[in-house]
Amino acid sequence: MNRREFMTSAAAMAIFSTPARAEDTPGISASEIKIGQTMPYSGPASAYGVIGRTELAYFKMINEQGGVNGRKINLISLDDGYSPPKTIEQARRLVEQEQVAFLWQCLGTPSCLAIRQYCNERKVPQLMCSTGSSALDDPEHFPWTSPANPIYQNEARIYARYILKEFPNAKIAVLSQNDGFGKDYLKGLKDVLGAEHAGMIVKEATYETSEPTVDSQVVTLQGSGADVFIIAATPKFAAQAIRKSYDLGWSATRIVSNVSISVTAVLKPAGLDKSKDLVAAQWGKDPSDPRWKDDPGMKEWGAFADKNLTHAAFFDQNAQYGYGNAVALIEILKSCGDDLSRANILKQTTHLSGLELPTLLPGVLLKTKPGSYSAIRQMQLSKFDGASWQLFGELIEA
């Protein structure tokens, strides 16, 4: 057989060979599951780095307990500095050099979008991306990509329903970040309000994250005479908007997006008295809320944080988020059994039928289906009473 014949037959064999067994999946061996991740350990979003550190600590604990079905979890978590070009470089390194089975919890909308095409072309699962952007929940075009966070549009839908029910004659003013996050919010709101109620939004204003303050935007919005004020902003700008709207004596019902509900990082800087009566949707348990003091799930998280991280980490909602997702991944891998092919890992992640997490509100379950990968769709509204968030009403499905 000459070389050409050999090449042809080898190629033919590759095409007609039987489907790969789990052991043929890159990153999977009898003793190990190798997973890749990009995380902003440095740069402007490095506050999120604690998510990766928490997850690493959780898998270390799982490995000490024997791993999943006898396999140890090996999470390779690389720094991308929240810079998409760097994410691409690191993702290629993870997939091609480290030969990971899949990518998991890569953080940030721009970073995840940057590697989405690459992952889908190579059929490498890009699971539970740390972002709530609706662009990462598009199974029709990108079946190998799934988001971990409730998508922003769904949260906004819940606010729109709440407004229609409680304030049917409301005049709404919206402050939103001028990027995908803010636009998702506006879309969710407008979807629910529909053409019929579109006129309820009397004023929209946006800001860039590089602007020093949003004071001027808040003044403009107040000038519109609105009586419902929706703040779709990240923590610093949300704090500014909360303070300024109070200082202006604006008596509107203020709704703040869930990314900015932290008492320590947002409401304290804004002033607790100035934050009174804010409304927000929630799905996780607030670690600073005494209500969960004796909650088994939160005690579990507290014990883990004390032992493997720091006591302060318990109150860090980013760390708590990482913990919840690490728990979820272990459950998913358990449900894969011995079929750890990429296709089955994706299938298990996208066919969750009601997984409970220790860090989520009672009744909030992870549910995914092939047409919609966003796992958290239930939320409950809450009001800030000047000290902590008070839940009210039923769980709402977006």
């Binding site: 506050a47 001028n178 303050t213 001027s216 935007q217 000038g223 610093k236 500014q240």
Partner: protein, 290 residues
């Protein structure tokens, strides 16, 4: 009308912060003919120092004074240790050093103090001044402080021998050296003063925009626009430019161009001024004989 007054006053208050930051830029430009892109991050870091002191129970004014003094020393040290070796390098090398310095201070602040936004105390508490109901006490205070800093800088250059020596060192280093001015030290002094003024800017900005490692990014851009508009070699011009940018940005954003391109106003001012009147409204035109 009420809305317009609110827009004006919040523009003026931030304009005060831009003005002080612009003054810091002017200080270094006066001494070296370069714009210090790390100015904002240095100011932010100084503000964190003040914040740490306040957290440890210091009173405001001692913490303020100590921070300004420490920033002065820090500025001198940076000039001596980091900027000096590049004194004879091409301008681009210096610019890269400044940008690198900015990144270093940003990362250090995050490392030491975290990325969570912090509220920052103001000495100007209580009821709004002069019964001005559109401006908080701190906002009025920030404007007054910016004017005081301007007066001090002006007096320093105009009436003190040291200020005269600094001007001489900047304008004609060779002749200055011949008459006994220590030119190198004058540059270090310029850096120290700029760092001290920057610290004041940071401490006036933080109660308005909240303290976090990225606090000064946008402010520096606007301050630069202000300095360019007023003339980057003229303290009066820079301060007036800072106030103008603060107000114009708010008014255009609210009534003319909309919030989506509000930030671009600063960039348009920079480009527009550099094209139409490169020396700024009040700057001196420098004519070099070749």
């Amino acid at each position: 009308m009420v809305e317009l007054l609110h827009q004006l006053s919040s523009g003026l208050a931030l304009g005060g912060v831009y003005a002080i930051t612009a003054l810091a830029l002017v200080m270094i430009f006066q001494a070296t003919q370069l714009v210090n892109f790390a100015q904002g991050e240095m100011a932010m870091f100084s503000t964190y120092v003040a914040w740490a002191l306040l957290q440890n129970g210091w009173n405001y004014w001692p913490a303020f004074a100590f921070t300004v003094a420490l920033s002065f020393v820090g500025g001198v040290v940076i000039e001596r240790a980091i900027v000096r070796p590049f004194a004879h390098a091409p301008i681009l090398a210096s610019v890269i050093v400044f940008i690198g310095l900015g990144f270093i201070f940003n990362a250090l602040a995050g490392f030491f103090f975290g990325y969570t936004v912090q509220s920052f105390d103001t000495p100007f508490n209580g009821r709004p001044w002069f019964g001005a109901k559109f401006m908080s006490a701190h906002e009025s205070g920030a404007i007054v402080v910016s004017l005081i800093v301007l007066a001090l800088v002006f007096a320093f250059f105009r009436f003190t021998p040291l200020g005269l020596a600094m001007r001489a060192a900047a304008q004609n280093p060779a002749s200055a050296r011949l008459v006994g001015v220590r030119v190198g030290w004058m540059l270090a002094l310029g850096w120290g003063l700029a760092a001290a003024i920057g610290a004041i800017a940071g401490m006036m900005a933080a109660p308005i925009v909240y303290l976090d490692p990225n606090m000064m990014g946008g402010i520096l851009l606007y301050a630069f626009a202000g300095a360019v508009l007023g003339g980057i070699d003229n303290p009066w011009g820079a301060v007036l430019g800072g106030f103008t940018v603060g107000v114009v940005e708010n008014l255009l954003g609210a009534y003319v161009v909309g919030t989506e391109v509000k930030l671009s106003v600063a960039l348009i001012i920079i480009v527009g001024v550099l094209v139409a009147k490169p020396s700024g409204l009040f700057g001196r035109r420098i004519v070099a004989r070749v």
